[in-house]
Amino acid sequence: MIKEERILLRNAGKINPMSIEDYIGAGGYRGLEKALGMEPVEVIDELLEAGLRGRGGAGFSTGMKQRFTSESCLRCPQRYVVVNADEGEPGTYKDRVIMEQDPHLYLEGTIIAAHAIRASKGYIYIRGEYQESIDKTRKAVNEAYKKGFLGKNILGSGFDFDIGIKLGAGSYLCGEELTMLESLEGKRGTPRIKPPFPAEKGVFNMPTLVNNVETLANATRILEKGREWYRETGTDTSPGTKIFTISGQVNKPGYYELPLGVSLRQLIELAGGMRGNMQFKAALLGGAAGTFVDASMLDEEMSYDNLRDKGATLGSGAVIVFSREDSITNTLVNCLRFFKHESCGKCIPCRAGTAHLEISARKLKSTANDKQKLLASMIRESELMAATSLCPLGQSPVLPLKSAARYFKDELYGILTE
């Protein structure tokens, strides 16, 4: 059986997350010290060469994102770093684990990122319901100020960086980066048209780098240990580890940090296998905005590119496991209900479409006739929404819908298989 490789979470459960001394004693803030001894462009090169990809779900190159932000609008008076700590994808809690167990880990990565793009201000946008994460991050920020890792002339390098904490208030959509910036400015959480991307016009119209908590935790390790060391784990195009959160019908649901490229079968084994005598039927990868897979995908390499090539998604690293007794239809209805609740209403195809999809999905659960036609029209609608909505929310329902239809047509049609 494979073993966990705790590169990011090496301190989890071993140090007191509320103590900066503990963190420093475990090698903390050495990555920052190294970064401050380098030119900003060298820090970006290090992340680029390490091959770090954003862990929020999209898997975009972190180094490229930082380069775009550092090179845009050189005359702008201010540049910002925004930490996306608005975790809310169903089945996902990797960022919560980092924030609760080792908050300095991502705070250090944030300061490194700020130095890399020469930002002197930043915000951490944390989900409003994540009270423990909020408390621990607040404490970490206060202690980092006291120790001189934040504020003026950090570690005598001449680099200044201030950070504030902003609270979300129960909107999933605010985890989308442009919507987050609107919310951060004190507005309703509706997405902006892009381009311009945050790298050009972000918060308060200034160049802004938006990075996820887990991404920044990776940045800390890359600076601390170097790109060659980092590339020893994971695959060529998806280096490093991923914190997977596995839940549902397994014996030991929880978070597991594993090299990218691990298979679903290995992950389920590590999570103690299927509960009781249950038989594996399906997994939902990447949450509601993710894809269902069946047993034919159990041995596929879980990396950004391979899953995409196979029509699936790694997304946030959420893995929800279903047994033969569980209803895929129920979960699909739940996902579509969720999108309806979270649609902001700005784009009409999403506002009307998410509502209509939920109504249609409930018909799938009923005894309605002609479910084949119903499902086909739902898929057409979701494709139309994906093509005509501004932000990822309107583009998401197509993912669980099409993948459920691909693997579990008979069940959705109401044909009993067993």
Partner: protein, 155 residues
């Protein structure tokens, strides 16, 4: 603390709006945003009343109606659903004699639904104000509600 005092802890800039609304709601005995609180916030930040109202009504965590002293937010995401959260919801409704969205007659509890609380390893889960409760079952629900009833008696 008065509304003015709470608001003045923040710089008068629009980007502080959500943090201000959280602080105001948390300090109100009915766990809600009163008209007075929103109007005072609009004045302080130089915003229209409409824009503060727009923000307050957009976000799920804010309420414009008085709620109970303890807000129960129960997770209805796919994992909690898989772990039979519907039974737990029915049980809470019957213990408190309310439906989802309502407040108990003693004004102690309001029952709300929540999207994924990120506690899927120990589903089903819920929050009561700031505290998370996991692995919910029939017995634990009774205990939790009793605990808050006792707490209310003490102060």
């Amino acid at each position: 603390m008065s509304i003015q005092k709470i608001i003045r802890q923040f710089e008068p800039e629009q980007h502080n709006l959500l943090n201000i609304l959280h602080a105001l709601q948390n300090s109100s005995s009915g766990n809600y945003l009163s008209k007075e609180a929103m109007e005072e916030t609009a004045r302080y930040l130089g915003l229209t009343k409409a824009s503060v109202y727009g923000v307050a009504t957009y976000y799920t965590m804010f309420s414009l109606k008085p709620r109970g002293r303890f807000i129960i937010r129960i997770c209805v995401s796919p994992v909690c659903e898989l772990m039979k959260v519907d039974i737990i919801i029915k049980q809470i409704e019957s213990i408190l004699d309310i439906k989802v969205g309502e407040t108990s007659s003693d004004r102690l509890f309001t029952l709300e639904l929540s999207e994924c609380l990120g506690q899927c390893q120990k589903a089903p889960s819920m929050m009561v104000n700031d505290r998370v409760y996991k692995c919910l079952g029939k017995d634990s629900i009774k205990e939790i509600i009793e605990k808050y009833r006792q707490k209310a008696k003490l102060n």
